[in-house]
């Protein structure tokens, strides 16, 4: 019983904390983020396993976590409000070539971040070659170039 309850509690704690830190928090994993991730894992281990080192306990914890993840995936597919609350929504950063500065400010993003995304995905040189830029719910920035702007494939 405690294995299932522990896993459930920790799943909720992690979900709430990671949602509160925002979409961008761990989407681009720098070296430091990677270390933070490891520490988070280390810290949750004790809470998940307690003083029980048996195989069946570990199997129950893992099964519960995977079941919760799959259940949450299903609910997100089934109900829009559940997806919005657990996985967030995409946000437009550049609308038809015009950067939305107040939105950028809210996400602590600069035009540099958009230009970086444009360079990486399409080899764009300047911000005026960007038609649309969207902060996806996964935390990445996707860029749609203006027609006629250079594209990495061509």
């Amino acid at each position: 019983m405690d294995a299932v309850l522990r896993a459930f509690a920790l799943y909720l704690v992690l979900l709430v904390l990671l949602r509160l830190t925002g979409k961008r928090s761990l989407s681009q994993v720098t070296t430091f983020d990677f270390v933070i991730l490891l520490i988070v894992g280390e810290a949750s281990q004790q809470a998940l396993l307690g003083e029980d080192f048996s195989v069946i306990h570990a199997a129950l914890v893992i099964a519960t976590l995977l079941l919760l993840d799959r259940g949450s995936d299903y609910l997100a597919w089934r109900f829009g409000w559940f997806q919005r609350w657990t996985q967030s929504v995409p946000a437009i950063l550049v609308e038809n070539g015009r950067p939305l500065n107040d939105v950028l400010k809210k996400f602590h993003l600069t035009e540099d971040d958009i230009v970086t995304a444009g360079r990486e995905a399409h080899g764009l040189e300047r911000l005026d070659q960007v038609k649309w830029a969207v902060l996806e719910s996964s935390g990445g920035i996707s860029v749609i170039p203006r027609r006629g702007a250079p594209s990495s494939g061509s």
Binding site: M1, E51, I56, H57, L67
Partner: protein, 161 residues
């Protein structure tokens, strides 16, 4: 020109079906864990009472190997004899677990064939509870017999890996 892809619709359908069955099994596994079929939980909590009521053992039917567990001996006022409670534990349970703590601490522990006698000093007679903390060291079933004042009860624990 068609897409060069290693697709196999028959296998994909079979995979979906097996996945679905698999998740039902995983769900049942977690549910069994929650209710106490695989460890602590409502279906695992049990009490073994002796015939004359000198001792009742609150224990878990199912416990885990190398995991902290405890059981309580609930003793009524008439279990006290000359200021001590004498509890005899015997059976495969005694050898199969590593006793971590007995609370309150016994005044004396004596060996008997196939078991141990624990004497606990009593300050004022009255109903007492003795908690034994332990870790199971063996797999499978462990049987214990608890005797207080000639009154006996027994219980069996299943130790899962």
């Amino acid at each position: 020109m068609t897409l060069q892809i290693n697709q196999n619709e028959r296998f994909q359908r079979r995979e979906w079906r097996l996945e679905r069955i698999g998740w039902v099994i995983v769900g049942a596994f977690v549910l069994a864990g929650l209710v106490g079929l695989l460890g602590t939980g409502p279906l695992s909590w049990a009490t073994a009472r002796s015939e004359q009521g000198f001792v009742a053992v609150e224990y878990q039917r199912i416990t885990h190997h190398e995991a902290d567990d405890s059981l309580s001996l609930v003793l009524p006022a008439d279990a006290v004899e000359d200021g001590t409670i004498s509890v005899e534990l015997s059976g495969s349970w005694v050898a199969g677990v590593d006793v971590q703590s007995i609370s309150p601490q016994p005044a004396e522990e004596r060996a008997v064939p196939d078991g141990v006698v624990v004497d606990i000093a009593v300050e004022r007679p009255g109903p007492t509870t003795v908690v034994i903390g332990f870790r199971a060291q063996q797999y499978g079933t462990l049987e214990a017999t608890v005797t207080v004042g000639g009154d006996t009860t027994s219980f069996t624990q299943l130790v899962l890996p």
